[in-house]
């Protein structure tokens, strides 16, 4: 099976450790991934802000870059959601079969059929189910099943977990006050868990919540799910 990593522009540019963690994790599970260098962005920012023509150009590029692979794995629920739910309406059908794009937890549980990835992470962690992974993709409890199998990890439940953190792409700046009101409630719930680390399957949401927690000096940090799953007793993940 030829598997490609779609790093996503946010992770590639700001959080390279997450993409490295995906490579290491999948490699450990016997699945070598390729990183086609023609990839850039799925076009979600443009599409959601009202620029569908520019998003279409990026969606066409995505289809070209990943054609020929058996599967694409992305460490982002919202980018995978954009590709799966929105791209088909943007990219003209060229007769070629569409390469399936999976969010990381879907790829692990549904394709590689593994929930215990052999990880070790001795920390107190809480999990935020990001909106698009939950409602566009329907990843359900896959990330939680993966986290529960991590040795040493103490999982604490996040209150009102399914509420949006208030990121929403350009919403965070166009409606900054409302976004911050939503963020404040999310941070309160995170802090109430007493966790050291908040994890999720999407770096854009984590960038938002993590940026807020950092501003508050809350003492809780954010870490992508991939980096927890990549960590082992022999090789602890140092992000």
């Amino acid at each position: 099976m030829r598997v490609a990593l779609f790093a996503t522009c946010v992770t590639d540019t700001f959080f390279p450790d997450t993409a490295r963690a995906v490579v290491r994790l999948l490699d450990r599970l016997g699945c070598a991934v390729d990183f086609p260098l023609g990839q850039t962005c799925c076009g979600q920012l443009h599409f959601n802000t009202g620029y569908p023509e520019q998003a279409t150009e990026l969606a066409v590029r995505y289809a070209d870059v990943f054609a020929g692979y058996d599967a694409v794995v992305a460490p982002s629920g919202s980018c995978a959601g954009m590709v799966r739910e929105i791209h088909p309406g943007l990219v003209p059908d060229n007769g070629h079969p569409t390469v399936p794009t999976y969010e990381l937890s879907e790829f692990l549980v549904d394709v590689l059929r593994v929930t215990d990835v052999g990880a070790y992470f001795p920390h107190r962690v809480t999990y935020h189910p990001t909106c698009h992974s939950m409602r566009m993709l329907g990843v359900g409890d896959r990330p939680l099943r993966l986290l529960r199998a991590v040795r040493g990890l103490r999982l604490t439940e996040l209150g009102d977990a399914t509420s949006c953190c208030g990121f929403g792409g350009t919403f965070a700046v166009k409606n900054a006050d409302t976004s911050l009101a939503m963020l404040t409630d999310k941070m309160t719930a995170v802090i109430e868990t007493g966790a050291e680390i908040l994890t999720a399957g999407d770096n854009s949401c984590l960038m938002h919540i993590g940026g807020g927690l950092s501003r508050l000096r809350a003492g809780t940090r954010t870490l992508h799910l991939a980096e927890i799953l990549a960590s082992t007793e022999e090789e602890p993940w140092r992000a």
Binding site: A7, T40, C164, L180, G211, G212, R215
Partner: protein, 479 residues
């Protein structure tokens, strides 16, 4: 001076959403009221919806019936008109708010009444009927408790189902004391006492009214039957006691047959009040000699609906049955409340319906509404007729962007970004240049960004770009 043709579905003078929201967010009483109310109804709704094993099939059926109605609207409307007329009702057609208001005012004047009682109705709120009647010398009395609170408070509604959701009971007591001439001086703020005061006040109105005005939850095309679904029984009084009943109904409120109501009378109460069945469902067909109103007028209202129907993506908003489930789960509505949307239709459904009905892409307030969402999708998940609200939001955002043209700073920035992202070599160059922003970091944080980034750093630190992107690392280690 407002233009004669301006659609009153959005309120003249309301600031754009981010500005209106900022003021609402700073009101602790409002925030507490809303959080309490929305969380309570959310939980109850989830419980009663969970009782039905076939909820998803009901949603699909509801969407399919409404789509059939919308696809064949002309035929169904003619069928309804024929059925109502045959049973002794009179049908009027109104293309916009002004025409509907004029028809209703003329009908009231012809009856000789100078006061009318009203059933809670979104359509009449949408067209500003009460104000139009007042201008014509007719006093309209709202008989739904929450609607009465809004009316007596000279206020605006903030929720589709619970228009006074932003008021608490001590505020309501003050409004009643000030505005009800017959209220006891020692009125306290117990809900029972407040309801009793309203009941006494309204009872006199019901018994003296010659004309009632209602909206409609459903109109059955086959039989000409109109339905009003309610909780308090005030609607039942209005549609049975007066001599003349005038119903203003949006043209999309049709269902083809009586048996289609089976679907909607399951979907609506559970989604709306989180009840298995609402207490009062009134249905009437034309007039019945010796029983109920002697005169029945049905005003069929367009007011932007035909234009909305012409939009392939946006028309699904016309499936809406006004349950308000999307408001109750919306994280934006929960914080800002309804008045920030500047329309009788607030929340997620308002953000897609109000701008479409208003039909003016250059109106900055209406144009701000499709952006009043984080696209979290909670609204779509609960919508009983499966309106894909996030899909319509992004569709309407594109309309707004097109109307503003290509020369706005945002459009230029987005075009530049797309130009970079179209070509990996440009993207890599931009990553290397952007990486220099790491030198803005102090103690491992970027707490202040210039330009549009300042809106980000007003409440969040920005990520410090790494010295090496993932792509650069991959090239260095793999190729």
């Amino acid at each position: 001076m407002a233009s004669v043709n301006r659609n009153p579905v959005t309120w003249l003078g309301t600031p754009v959403f981010p500005t209106a929201a900022k003021a609402a967010l700073a009101d602790p009483q409002l925030r507490a009221n809303l959080r309490n109310a929305t969380h309570t109804i959310r939980t109850k709704r989830a419980h009663v919806v969970g009782e039905l094993a076939d909820w998803e099939q009901l949603r699909q059926a509801g969407a399919a019936i409404k789509d059939d109605v919308l696809a064949n609207l002309g035929g169904y409307l003619r069928r309804l008109e024929a059925a109502v007329t045959e049973r002794g009702g009179v049908v009027h057609w109104a293309s916009d708010a002004a025409e509907a208001n004029r028809i209703v005012l003329d009908l009231v004047r012809a009856s000789g009444a100078d006061e009318v009682v009203k059933v809670k109705s979104m359509a009449t709120m949408e067209i500003g009927l009460n104000e139009a009647l007042a201008d014509g010398g007719v006093n309209a009395v709202e008989t739904d408790l929450a609607e009465l609170i809004v009316q007596l408070g000279h206020d605006r509604p903030s929720h589709i189902l619970v228009p006074a959701i932003h008021r608490n009971r001590s505020e309501i007591r003050e409004i009643f004391r000030r505005e009800m001439p017959d209220v006891p001086a020692d009125l306290d703020d117990e809900p029972r006492a407040l309801a009793e005061a309203a009941r006494r006040h309204l009872r006199r109105k019901f018994l003296s009214a010659k004309v009632a005005i209602s909206g409609a939850n459903f109109g059955v095309a086959d039989t000409g039957t109109i339905l009003v679904v309610e909780s308090e029984g005030n609607g039942r009084m209005c549609v049975t006691l007066p001599e003349t009943l005038i119903t203003v109904m949006g043209i999309e409120k049709l269902v083809p047959t009586w048996s289609d109501l089976e679907v909607f009378l399951q979907l609506l109460p559970r989604s709306s009040t989180a009840e298995r069945m609402n207490p009062y469902t009134s249905a009437w067909t034309g007039v019945t000699p010796g029983d109920g109103p002697a005169h029945f007028h049905l005003v069929l209202l367009d007011n932007g609906r035909t234009a909305t129907l012409a939009d392939q993506v946006g028309s699904q908003a016309l499936r809406c049955i006004r349950c308000s489930a999307c408001l109750n789960v919306c994280p934006v509505y929960e914080r800002t409340g309804g008045q920030a949307y500047g329309s009788v239709y607030p929340g997620p459904i308002g953000a897609i319906l109000a701008p479409q009905l208003a039909g003016d892409p250059h109106d900055p307030q209406a144009a701000s509404l499709p952006f009043a969402s984080s696209l979290c999708g909670a609204c779509y998940e609960v919508c009983p007729v499966r309106i894909n609200i996030p899909e319509v939001l992004t569709h309407l955002r594109a309309d707004v962007v097109r109307a503003k043209g290509k020369r706005t700073p945002e459009a230029i920035g987005m075009a530049a970004l797309a130009w970079i992202l179209r070509e990996p070599s440009r993207y890599e160059t931009a990553q290397r240049a952007g990486s220099l922003a790491r030198f803005l970091a102090r103690d491992g944080k970027i707490s202040r960004l210039p330009g549009p980034g300042a809106k980000w750093t007003m409440g969040r630190d920005a990520p410090v770009p790494p010295a090496e992107s993932f792509r650069a690392w991959w090239k260095r280690t793999h190729d």
